[in-house]
């Protein structure tokens, strides 16, 4: 009996640092946020329990719209990243002279500190001094300056473009690694059988990188859904809310307007969505792993 008890205590002692870390960094804030979401906590000294009032309130307001916008923004950003990343990986995987150089050239968006890259894009989108508007005017494509971040529609796409620019290198490198793990023999065998370049891509490369594509899409989905800095630095969710995603809305409510209770309710909603994505991710990864074993 004693020895079993000692063993249990010893095991707990070994686990303690990790448990304390998880309780301190993850569990306590999560529970506190859920708790907060059922209160009217604000700048006042005291707060009361208000039940589901915060949730009712956010769904009565424009939160549905924000959720839809977040999904649309994420969908386009992830899709474009995957398409561009796949295309880039195919090009970098091709046996062309100087491909080592091209591989290095894909890295800057990833290596430049994010905030600096975003500020750079901010200037590029500027109507008066920005490169994009300037070039379009020079080539006679537009008549006057266009301030890309000043209109809802263009600002929405401008933030997506910047997010894609930052996210593409990781996708490219990940897919390139997946492509390079395909044995060369397979391509030689296909070439001996008369399969052309596109046929080989369609029947060998693409099916064989699907596990990597799915994994990367889900990882990218999780990261993009929560993308804060790009939108905040470029537009602060504006103009008139056209780039306000769930994370921006939560920040504005909780930190900008000091409505901690309502903000917490929004944060819980984000947490639920992200948990679902993570669940999907672990399911897929699990399936891929068992598939490989078979």
């Amino acid at each position: 009996m004693t020895s079993t008890r000692n063993a249990t205590l010893f095991a707990l002692a070994l686990l303690a640092p990790a448990l304390l870390y998880i309780i301190g960094i993850v569990a306590y804030p999560l529970v506190d946020t859920i708790n907060l979401s059922f209160t009217n906590a604000a700048l006042k000294k005291t707060y009361e329990f208000v039940g589901w009032a915060n949730y009712e309130k956010i769904f009565k307001n424009n939160f549905n719209e924000v959720i839809v916008r977040t999904f649309v923004w994420t969908f386009f950003s992830v899709s474009i990243k995957m398409v561009v990343g796949t295309f880039g990986a195919v090009l970098l995987n091709a046996a062309v002279p100087g491909r080592a150089l091209f591989r290095i050239l894909t890295m800057p968006p990833w290596v430049v500190p994010m905030a600096i890259g975003i500020f750079m894009w901010g200037w590029m989108y500027n109507g008066q001094f920005g490169m994009i508007s300037g070039l379009l005017q020079n080539f006679g494509i537009v008549d006057g300056p266009i301030a890309w971040l000043a209109y809802g529609n263009t600002a929405f796409w401008a933030t997506i473009v910047t997010d894609v620019w930052i996210g593409v290198p990781l996708v490219t490198i990940y897919l390139l690694a997946a492509m390079q793990s395909i044995p060369r023999d397979l391509y030689e065998a296909a070439w001996t059988d008369g399969a052309g370049r596109f046929y080989r891509f369609r029947r060998i490369t693409f099916p064989m990188i699907i596990p990597a594509l799915v994994t990367m899409s889900l990882l990218s989905l999780i990261a993009t859904f929560n993308s804060f800095d790009i939108i905040w630095i470029l537009t602060r969710g504006g103009p008139s809310g056209s780039t306000t995603t769930m994370i921006i809305d939560t920040y504005k409510t909780a930190i900008g307007s000091y409505k901690y209770g309502e903000g917490a309710a929004r944060a819980v909603m984000i947490c639920i969505f992200l948990s679902l994505f993570c669940l999907a991710y672990f399911r897929v990864v699990g399936k891929i792993n068992t598939g490989e074993k078979a």
């Binding site: 044995p183 023999d185 397979l186 030689e188 065998a189 296909a190 070439w191 001996t192 059988d193 008369g194 399969a195 046929y199 029947r203 060998i204 099916p207 064989m208 078979a294």
Partner: protein, 358 residues
């Protein structure tokens, strides 16, 4: 009529010449094996025939067409790779059907041809499985199936059995030979294993350092090797070599002084080796216990009893390892000197350059 001709074929990677001028004729229906040590260029030569490597100079003629610049698919060849190169995400059926899908053959024809190949290779029951669920031998058969459905003029095999264990290898060897009989097609087979070469080939091409050392039937190579390299490469255990000096070479006999082992006179109608350093070659299986035409005394260092054979290892006065192989299980003790001998007719003689003297 020869179906494949290689005409002074050369291949260089940068400044390094890998294939140094190969001439070869292969007839319709022949089973030809390229054999040689690793790095001798045998796989490169096969890949050049397949069209997977460009040739630096020379000509490859298949049928009556020079195919130097044709892509693999237009050469009438099919290749089986060492790694099998199966597509892991496709079923066995789709793997075998791959070349036919590339050709865009109608579905019923694809089914018919894959079915026929699967029957020949006993894969009918596995068509819906993925390669990952198959054994090594079955995977090998799928790879062969993919080659068969193309109905090529020439099959190319690149060390196809080297990933299999010993038991499976001899099983597959027999299957391949049966397949060759059944299909009657020309097959070119690369291996570094001389047993595979000896058992399967109609014609063996022994390669070394980018050149052909000798072309011939297995028994020609065994009994009449052109040079020391072929003599040592073909046969297991390897031929024994003893260096000596040719004291006389009078057109009837060559007398060789073997130092501490004595003097031997081999019947050879040559006068050209008098005064040269020569090498005497004798295969381990041609040695007998006791006295013979030539007898030497050795002290066994190690004796291996294999039941069917007994193998004896000893050091000669010159320091060379000497191997003898006797049938059955004669009484031989390690460390106890004994007399062994051989017939003069089974001895080989090589000149200073290593060329055989007959």
């Amino acid at each position: 009529m020869s179906q494949l001709s290689l005409k002074h074929l050369e291949k260089s990677f940068g400044d390094t010449q890998i294939i140094k001028g190969i001439d070869l004729e292969v007839s319709q229906g022949e089973f030809v094996v390229f054999v040689g040590p690793s790095g001798c260029g045998k796989s490169t030569l096969l890949r050049m025939i397949a069209g997977l490597e460009d040739i630096t100079s020379g000509d490859i003629v298949i049928g009556d067409k020079v195919v130097n610049d044709l892509p693999p698919v237009k050469r009438g060849i099919a290749m089986v790779f060492q790694s099998y190169a199966l597509y892991p995400h496709m079923t066995v059926f789709e793997n075998i059907a791959f070349p036919l899908r590339v050709e865009r053959l109608p579905n019923d024809q694809v089914k018919e041809r894959v079915g026929r190949a699967a029957k020949v290779l006993q894969l009918d029951a596995r068509l819906e499985q993925r390669p990952g669920t198959l054994s090594g031998g079955q995977r090998q058969r799928v790879a062969i199936g993919r080659a068969i459905v193309r109905q090529p003029q020439i099959f190319l095999f690149d060390e196809p059995l080297s990933n299999l264990d010993a038991a499976l290898r001899s099983e597959m060897r027999i299957e391949l030979m049966e397949l060759h009989k059944k299909l009657g097609s020309t097959m070119i087979y690369v291996t570094h294993d001389q047993v595979e070469a000896m058992t399967m080939a109609d014609k063996i091409v022994v390669m070394n350092a980018g050149l052909i050392e000798q072309i011939g039937s297995p028994l020609e190579l065994y009994h009449k090797p052109d040079n020391k390299f072929v003599a040592s490469f073909i046969g297991s255990p390897k031929m024994n070599f003893i260096q000596g000096n040719a004291t006389t070479s009078d057109g009837t006999n060559v007398t060789i002084d073997l130092g501490a082992l004595g003097t031997i006179a081999l019947p050879r109608a040559t006068k050209r080796v008098a005064g040269d350093t020569v090498t005497l070659g004798i295969r381990p299986e041609h040695l007998v216990l006791g006295k013979s035409d030539f007898t030497l005394t050795v002290t066994p260092k190690i004796v291996e009893h294999l039941g069917i054979h007994t193998v004896l290892y000893a050091d000669l006065p010159g320091g060379e390892t000497f191997i003898a192989l006797f049938e059955g299980d004669p009484k031989i003790e390690e460390g106890a000197p004994l007399e062994i001998g051989f017939k003069l007719s089974s001895a080989h003689l090589f000149d200073t350059a290593g060329l055989a003297v007959y």
